[in-house]
Amino acid sequence: MSASLSPLPALSHPALEAVEITKRFSGVVANDAVSFSLEPGEIHVLLGENGAGKSTLMNILYGLQKPDQGEIWVGGKAVRLDGPKDAIQQGVVMVHQHFMLVPVFTVLENIVLGVEQTRGQWGQLGVLERAKPARQIQALADQLSLQVDLNAKVGELPVGVQQKVEIIKALYRGARILILDEPTAVLTPTEATELFELLRRLTQQGLSIVLITHKLKECLAIADRISVMRQGKMVGTVYPQQASESLLAEMMVGRKVILQVEKPLMQAGAPVLQTRRLVVWDDRHQPAVNGVDLTVCAGEILGIAGVQGNGQTELSEALTGLRSPAQGQIDILGQDQTGASPRQLIEQGLAHVPEDRGKNGIVKTYSLADNAVLCTYYQPPFAKKGLIRPGAIARQATQLIQEFDIRPANPRVLAGSLSGGNQQKLIMARELSRGAKLLIACQPTRGVDIGAIELIHRRIIAARNQGMGVLLISSELDEILALSDRIAVMYQGKVLETLAIAEATRERLGCLMAGMVQS
């Protein structure tokens, strides 16, 4: 695919070029002779699954890692990058997925941090120059018609604005080439659209942008060109006009992928989960969930949409017994289970796919088999009179490995050595294996490859078809739309509205996720 594609009309040198980059980590080839070029003024999306080698390539371009072989060219000249400092000097700046901002500093302080100027001859002890940088930053912001209060504390700003601060910070450092790592992961759809408009304006001013993502839709919406990586190799580069979601998915995975899950109509049964006026505190004793009423019936999937950090985590913790609710009531299968322990809930028929799988979902230093019975290790047939029965556990693990296609198919390997997708399949397999009536699935496909997403989605639908009630908490709107029968949108600890899937449009959900209720 790549060979047949002619590059953009070569009026000048590419802004940034990686030539035949190879990088190995203890025997694993993370980048295998990867070439990548960024034309001036273009938005070039780098697409690929976790572990495809995108981050390695970008780290090399940003000087964080050194390639074993290959060259980097900036503006037609070969450069040597020994660290991010060198990259920044060449005008290459990276905006990380997790912002590098000091929350208690103001916007101005954050932007000048590291390149601050001081007044007078006091050297390091001089007084911080504020007026001049403030004028420069304001000018930058005005150019891009961005409204940012330079004296606001960064920690008090919405995430979308924080990201703009990161971008201004990069521009203030003289960035000509921006590398954005998964920039929309923490944004509402509206904020994402705003970000894309901003990026467009930046390219009009001559900046070149590399955007890393695994989301197919936004990739088609914003890109001038799309390069796809798989297993350390560059699979090809396409124009969005020629591409489609299914083509990109195929390039990413290397085989045909069914993105849409078949979902037969289901008649919802009796409620399996009900909350009434539920209030849950976060770790700082602030109400993170503030009066939530939810009902999940047998045989339906209720999706909780919302930007991360609007109380979804605390809600799921309260429902699964990991955090005791401050007020309100939780009924599971018609019984009051407010404040019940995780063990009681598990025995009542709760299955839980936790949000942070590495922390809660598995014990990394345990074998796959031990993890397969993490919640039922004490029950027959896995234990008898307080003694573990390794044979029964191994049989269970072998069966789950087959059913869920977990690789490597060996019950004795350590769970921590599995890929994210296989860890998640293991958790899914375990939770669905014990005949639970209610599944609470939190971010079930976060950081998981497309193959595993496909399987996990099919399994969730299958569980629902067999009469399980499912509460699906996800910040991926596509996932919510693909699976849910009804969608509740959470914003600042409240459920703003619950929509049937038929009336849930992307736009409407987007508005609700940003806190706008239609009158």
Binding site: P342, Q344, L345, D356, T365, C375, R407, P408, G416, S417
Partner: protein, 367 residues
């Protein structure tokens, strides 16, 4: 992906290589030190090292005495290993050892019982004493979240001074000339079977087997290990973390207390003031060198016992020029290496096998 069909002996070999290299390197480091103190007279150096070997292994009854020295370390080492495996850093083995010894000596001299029953009751009393001393920091951690490292150290001091007071006052031998407890009754003694070697060795072996069995074969052990490996996952799986934390420190304390009891009943038979306390601290390198595995702990304890006994003869043979404290250097270097295995891997250019996760089983810091 991990090579899934590893042969078991390769795995065992990998486990052994770091501790063995640590020991070898530590011994090697003593060569220039001893050489320096002996003015690079290599003949003398050879004699000195011969003394170390003789004292540890080859002299008559040397190995039996090495085992006698190793027995208390086996118990405290097991106590530490059990703690590490279950997520607690029990620095209080000294105090627990002392409390166990105190309880055992009291049962031994004050309560007349028939033979066989008498040592058994005294051992149980020792385990209970040590267990309660461990339960206190366990409870404080579970209930208030205060770190066990601080509290076990505090309780060490409490144990020292409590024992000191007890031995000088209510438990003092009636004879005015000696400040120690009365000797235990003959019925309470753990008998010897070969020179000074006593049946406490069998108890230590049973304790090691018991710890291994508990941790790997029982659901309770599974819970303890899960809390140790990942408290968050344990909570998710419905385990009662607080209860398990108290129990793991209690069990750890009970093992140390049992060690104190065995030492009293098998070796000392009466308790002086300032009763030995370094078994609790030496237990840390013993457990780490033994990779927190029961068999490993037993072997590491024997090594430390050998160093202890060998160093006496070493000092003697060198005509006093080489202080026996040289073995502390060995112990310290071993501890350094097993606590930071990356150093050993770096020195010997070993590669961490891909399949093996860099597990940090020692302690989880101050979380």
């Amino acid at each position: 992906m991990a090579d899934v069909k590893q042969k078991p002996f390769i795995t065992i070999g990998r486990q052994l290589i770091t501790p063995l290299l640590a020991i070898a390197t530590a011994m090697l480091i003593t060569v220039p030190i001893i050489g320096f103190t002996l003015n690079w007279d290599w003949a003398k150096v050879a004699v000195t090292y011969g003394g170390l070997l003789d004292g540890a292994l080859f002299k008559q009854y040397a190995f039996a005495n090495t085992l006698v020295s190793a027995i208390p370390l086996m118990f405290t080492g097991l106590a530490l290993a059990l703690g590490f495996r279950t997520g607690v850093f029990n620095i209080g083995a000294s105090g627990q050892f002392l409390m166990g010894a105190t309880c055992a000596v009291f049962v031994g001299y004050a309560i007349p019982l028939p033979p066989l029953i008498h040592p058994l009751v005294a051992l149980i009393a020792g385990a209970i004493g040590g267990g309660l001393w461990g339960a206190i920091p366990g409870f404080l951690k579970a209930r208030f979240g205060s770190h066990e490292v601080i509290n076990t150290i505090m309780l060490n001091y409490l144990a020292f001074f409590l024992q000191d007071w007890l031995v000088k006052n209510p438990m003092k031998d009636p004879s005015p000339t000696i400040v120690r407890t009365p000797e235990i009754l003959a019925t309470a003694i753990i008998p010897r079977f070969y020179d000074r070697l006593h049946w406490g060795l069998a108890i230590a072996l049973m304790a090691a087997y018991g710890v291994g069995w508990l941790l790997s074969k029982t659901t309770f052990g599974f819970e303890l290990r899960t809390v140790g490996s990942s408290p968050e996952a344990a909570r998710y799986a419905g385990m009662k973390i607080g209860r398990l934390t108290v129990l793991s420190l209690t069990l750890s304390g009970a093992l140390a207390g049992l060690g104190g009891a065995v030492q009293i009943l098998g070796v000392d038979r009466a308790m002086p003031v300032l009763y030995s306390s370094d078994y609790g601290f030496d237990a840390i390198p013993v457990a780490l060198l033994g990779q927190n595995q029961p068999i490993g702990v037993l072997l590491a304890a024997v090594l430390f016992g050998a160093l202890r006994n060998g160093s006496d003869v070493m000092q003697l043979r060198s005509g006093g020029a080489v202080s026996k404290e040289v073995i502390f250097i060995v112990q310290a270097v071993i501890l350094l290496f097993v606590a930071a295995p990356a150093i050993v891997r770096w020195i010997y250019r070993l590669k961490l096998p891909k399949s093996q996760l860099e597990t940090a089983p020692l302690t989880r810091g101050w979380g």
